[in-house]
């Protein structure tokens, strides 16, 4: 083997070795790499107990309740399979609204209500003009009205 081929092999082995090691490490840390867990995972009991965590989902339409004259509010976060009641007191990001993706940070109380100390809005990858969004919304409403009930039963952690 000529010196140049040896160097080529060495460089190749370094790249493959580092990629494999990183891949295995990330695979092992998969759960802690997740920025948030889904509502279904919370219902299944797959969330870190006794410490704060983040849960992500959509704000369910018509579920927002505000206490008059204060910043206190409650709403439901849903992944269209399970719902999770969330209570929060504080300032909301601009994008917070019904149907919007949100990430709530806090802990799950004994009563099953998630007490959030921080609400972040999650933007999706779609960019469009307001007129386009309006006409699209009407269209999507027709297509998905049957799905609103949720296609799957929400699992329970007791079973």
């Amino acid at each position: 083997m000529r010196p140049r081929q040896q160097r080529m092999l060495a460089v190749g082995l370094v790249i493959v070795g580092v990629a494999t090691a990183t891949g295995l490490t990330l695979q092992a840390m998969k759960d802690s790499m997740m920025f948030f867990v889904s509502v279904t995972e919370v219902a299944e009991g797959k969330y870190p107990e006794n410490r704060n965590f983040r849960v992500g989902g959509l704000v369910r339409d018509g579920s927002i309740n505000r206490e008059a004259g204060s910043l206190e509010m409650t709403f439901l976060v849903t992944d269209l399979r399970c719902d999770l009641p969330v209570s929060y007191t504080g300032v909301l990001p601009d994008l917070f609204r019904e149907g919007q993706g949100v990430v709530a940070h806090g802990r799950l109380g004994e009563d099953g209500v998630f007490v959030a100390d921080e609400i972040l809005a999650k933007h999706d990858e779609n960019y469009m003009a307001p007129e386009v969004a309006d006409s699209l919304a009407e269209h999507v409403e027709e297509q998905t009205s049957g799905l609103q009930e949720g296609p799957l039963e929400c699992p329970s952690s007791d079973s």
């Binding site: 370094v14 790249i15 580092v18 790499m33 997740m34 469009m128 386009v132 309006d134």
Partner: protein
């Protein structure tokens, strides 16, 4: 073919050729950025959710794209330099690093400015996309610091090349972070199934900006490689002759 590559890799030839190429990159680059700035600010409609705040995308996406592209250029050049012992290749890697660091910084900063009103936070530790991009900034810093710490050019080339290659594993992690794990950052808009998820009136200025940034990056890179080559070859006869004859 091989003859052409050997000629290209010869420092005096590259030095002259690069000077001739630079204007051909600067002119279209400036034109594209000028068009994209005007179109992005005035012709593109406001976004249905983000309003005018979405327009920061015209700096954020080109910067983020070039931050990763520059790292790949740096790592590939360093690898070629290691295997084939081409000095010009190492010079390209060394010249690319500060540019990549600046693009990474720009991507992080514009993302942060956008994140505060939209997400409700400047920065979230633990988010895979944000964290992996920050790690890349530190990889650039580490690469530059390592080069700076070693006086001998050949040794600096070799050790920094290994660092560049090892760090390259981070680039696919940045790209796929939003698909492998849950993240606050949205998924890809441009490169996705079914084409870009964006109005064409918003899309064309963005593509023009990406192309314009790339042209200007190419011009900056060539200028930096020229300076790097000149410094490395400062004791050779062709540089002496060029300086004595008053050329640049």
């Amino acid at each position: 073919m091989w003859k052409f590559i050997h000629k290209l890799a010869s420092p005096p030839h590259f030095y002259r050729l690069a000077a001739q190429i630079v204007p051909w990159l600067v002119v279209p680059g400036l034109l594209l950025v000028a068009y994209a700035t005007y179109a992005g600010l005035f012709l593109a409609p406001a976004d249905y959710q983000q309003g005018d705040a979405f327009r920061i995308i015209y700096v954020h996406v080109p910067s983020a794209y070039l931050s990763m592209m520059t790292y790949m250029i740096m790592a590939v050049s360093a690898g070629i330099g290691l295997i084939w012992r081409i000095k010009l290749s190492h010079a390209v890697a060394a010249a690319a690093a500060p540019l990549g660091a600046w693009f990474t910084f720009l991507a992080l900063m514009t993302g942060s400015i956008w994140g505060k009103p939209m997400w409700g936070t400047w920065w979230e530790w633990g988010d895979p996309r944000l964290t992996s991009e920050l790690i890349m900034l530190f990889l650039y810093f580490g690469y530059m610091a390592l080069r700076g710490a070693i006086d001998d050019t050949v040794k600096a080339d070799k050790s920094s090349a290994v660092l560049a290659l090892v760090g390259a594993v981070n680039v696919p992690i940045i790209h796929f972070s939003v698909e492998w794990w849950s993240s606050l950052h949205q998924g890809p808009t441009l490169v996705k199934k079914g084409g870009p998820a964006m109005d064409t009136a918003m899309l064309y200025p963005l593509l023009a900006m990406i192309l314009g940034f790339s042209f200007l990056f190419g011009a900056l890179l060539l200028r930096r490689v020229r300076a790097e080559v000149l410094f490395r070859e400062r004791r050779t006869r062709w540089v002496k002759e060029m300086v004595l004859s008053g050329g640049t």
